[in-house]
């Protein structure tokens, strides 16, 4: 196991050869250019190699340029497994099941909003529950929680949060079929009861942004995006509900590992054969958590839209605030992919990676059939976020996947130390960004320097051809937990 064994394939990717460590069934590939390669952590490289040892892995164990060390699987990891010989692993999805991003467009222009921005950020901060110990406005009774787990975003729409037309602009229509509410523990139900419609904390956010740069006029147009237009981005997941599902099933999987005699280089890779009851039960529970997350982002979007309408005293038609798309970046899905020239069903794990399907893909809704799937990549709160589009090359190389964000370079502690004596909110305000945060330390932990530059990350996936840059968005109002 030596780093000298890593081999650069081309300017956007390096290979971890099969002899990097014993037991690797396939090679590993990390999408990084020479700039980001310098920031690679040895431990995260090892994790990509560890995933390559898992039974039934297809083609390669992959990681995107925002790779950093996770638990078992690296964050930024993509791995697909054969349904006959392969496995399913909760560690390949992560604790925050269906953590994801949604983007809203509007008819508002940046200059028109700027004079009133501070008040609007204050109102949104009050309207959207966020931060440690915050309680949502929704209390789920057991029956309605079950319905929510089965229906996802559709449940939210039925409760009056948003429109039915939103659903086609959500990955998987805002609901993965095959969720089984009976496989959810009492604890997960309890934990999820008061957290629907809450943002959470850490890197989760709600941002008011504007379109700063357009790279592809035609696709931007088709998405309804234009220069200096106001957009809103929401980044959150399945909250305590999903965390509990993951915690519950890691225990189940740990027992499964000895039951099925699976040899693992790392305990956090705990998994079970795809066809086992353990794996099938996890997938059913994971789908319920994914649906919880889609309902969550739907509720938060609805309150955001209401707050804009009320604050600006305008009509829905005039505001034109509608959903562009919603992507999951922590999820495992059954998808069709071409392997050795043959169509095959695989279970694709994306942990900190975004689906990036090309134009014409059968899973895309009619509105995006011709242009491809919008890919939403949030950056840190001070720099930028991006909209990309899925490509055919992603289907060929990465099971239709791309990066998901910036990826940290500094620990929270390091960031807090670096921020000592500085008023991060004022530094942000000087840059024209109004921030509100529930936690005192959050802003220091989340400052720009703590992250890789999102532009570098996005350039790698763009240059590699596994997704294509469409627009750059810049934040002007940020709400953090």
């Amino acid at each position: 196991m030596t780093l000298e064994k890593l081999r650069r394939i081309d300017e956007t990717k390096i290979e971890i050869p099969r002899d990097y460590k014993p037991g690797m069934r396939v090679a590993g590939i990390i999408y990084v250019d020479e700039v980001l390669e310098k920031e690679l952590e040895t431990q995260s490289i090892d994790q990509v190699a560890n995933v390559a040892t898992l039974p039934g892995i297809v083609k390669t164990s992959m990681a995107m340029p925002d790779i950093h060390t996770g638990y078992g699987f690296a964050i930024g990891g993509v791995a697909a497994f054969d349904l006959k010989e392969g496995i399913v692993s909760p560690g390949g999805v992560g604790y925050d099941i269906n953590c994801g991003v949604r983007l809203l467009r509007s008819n508002l222009m940046r200059e028109a909003l700027l004079p009133r921005l501070k008040d609007l950020v204050g109102i949104l901060y009050n309207e959207i529950p966020s931060g440690v110990g915050s309680k949502g406005k929704i209390r789920l009774m057991p029956d309605s929680e079950k319905q929510l787990l089965l229906k996802g975003a559709r449940w939210a729409v039925e409760q009056g949060y948003g429109d039915a037309s939103d659903l086609e602009r959500i990955e998987s229509g805002g609901c993965i079929d095959g969720a089984d509410p009976d496989l959810i523990s009492k604890k997960a139900y309890e934990r999820g009861r008061a957290q629907q419609g809450t943002l959470g904390s850490g890197n989760h956010f709600l941002e008011i942004q504007y379109v700063d740069e357009i790279y592809d006029e035609k696709v931007a147009n088709a998405l309804g995006l234009f220069k200096d237009q106001i957009t809103v981005m929401i980044h959150t997941g399945s909250r305590g509900f999903g965390h509990q599902v993951c915690t519950d099933f890691l225990e189940v999987m740990e027992r499964a590992v000895s039951k099925y005699n699976i040899e693992l280089p790392d305990k956090e890779l705990a998994c079970a054969p795809y066809n086992s009851s353990e794996a099938q039960d996890y997938l059913s529970a994971m789908r319920a958590a994914a649906n919880y997350a889609w309902a969550n982002r739907q509720c938060i979007m609805h309150w955001t839209r209401e707050a804009f309408l009320k604050f600006l005293g305008t009509t829905p038609g005039e505001l034109g605030m509608s959903l562009i798309y919603d992507v999951a970046h922590n999820v495992a899905k059954i998808e069709d992919h071409i392997v050795n020239g043959k169509k095959k069903k695989l279970v694709v794990h994306r942990k900190g990676a975004t689906r990036a399907f090309p134009p014409g893909h059968p899973e895309l809704p009619d509105v995006y059939k011709n242009i491809g799937q919008p890919v939403l990549i949030p950056g840190d709160m001070g720099r930028a976020s991006f909209v990309l589009i899925g490509t055919e090359k992603a289907m060929q190389e990465t099971f239709g996947s791309t990066c998901h964000g910036a990826g940290r370079v500094m620990s929270r502690h390091q960031a807090i130390k670096r921020a000592k004596g500085r008023a991060i909110w004022r530094e942000m305000e000087d840059k024209g960004i109004i921030v509100r945060s529930a936690g005192r330390g959050t802003l220091a932990e989340e400052m720009s320097e703590a992250y890789k530059d999102i532009s570098d990350v996005v350039d790698v996936v763009h240059n590699a051809g596994i997704s294509k840059k469409i627009v750059k968005l810049r934040p002007i109002g940020v709400i953090k937990g």
């Binding site: 638990y71 440690v132 110990g133 305590g240 965390h243 509990q244 993951c246 500094m410 929270r412």
Partner: protein
């Protein structure tokens, strides 16, 4: 003897806890974890809850123990300040925790902890002192 220290790790946070007994180390790991969530000086021992956890291994017991406290906090807002563990036997822990309901108006909001993980997990007796390393998903 130091009770615990914060472990610095990219992206997340951990606790290194010590104890003359395994019970004391479990208590200190839990107090260390609570201190990542809020400033414990502001928490009062208004009410007491009892938790009882079993597992198949000592490491598993520690992770389940901390995950139970995370569950109690994330679900009911209960945050502890003082913990008494009767004893750890047969991979079972029974504890009484006194604390109160978290109030974002009065209590500092620090980290939102999703779970205790097996990542770099260590529960070990080094000479006479029990040491615990545990990393949390934030």
């Amino acid at each position: 003897m130091k009770k615990f220290e914060v472990l610095d790790i990219s992206g997340d946070a951990g606790i290194k806890a010590y104890g003359k007994s395994i019970e004391e180390a479990f208590v200190n790991a839990a107090i260390g974890m609570y201190s990542l969530i809020t400033d414990l000086n502001d928490i009062k021992g208004k009410n007491t809850i009892e938790v009882s956890i079993e597992s198949h291994s000592l490491e598993g017991l520690l992770v389940s123990w901390l995950n139970e406290l995370i569950f109690q906090f994330d679900t009911y807002g209960f945050i502890g300040k003082k913990i008494v563990i009767q004893g750890i036997e047969d991979k079972k822990v029974v504890a009484n925790i006194s604390g109160e309901e978290f109030d974002p108006e009065r209590h500092e909001r620090k980290l939102l902890i999703k779970a205790a993980t097996y990542h770099r997990l260590r529960v070990e007796k080094v000479r006479d002192v029990w040491e615990i390393d545990v990393i949390f998903d934030i």
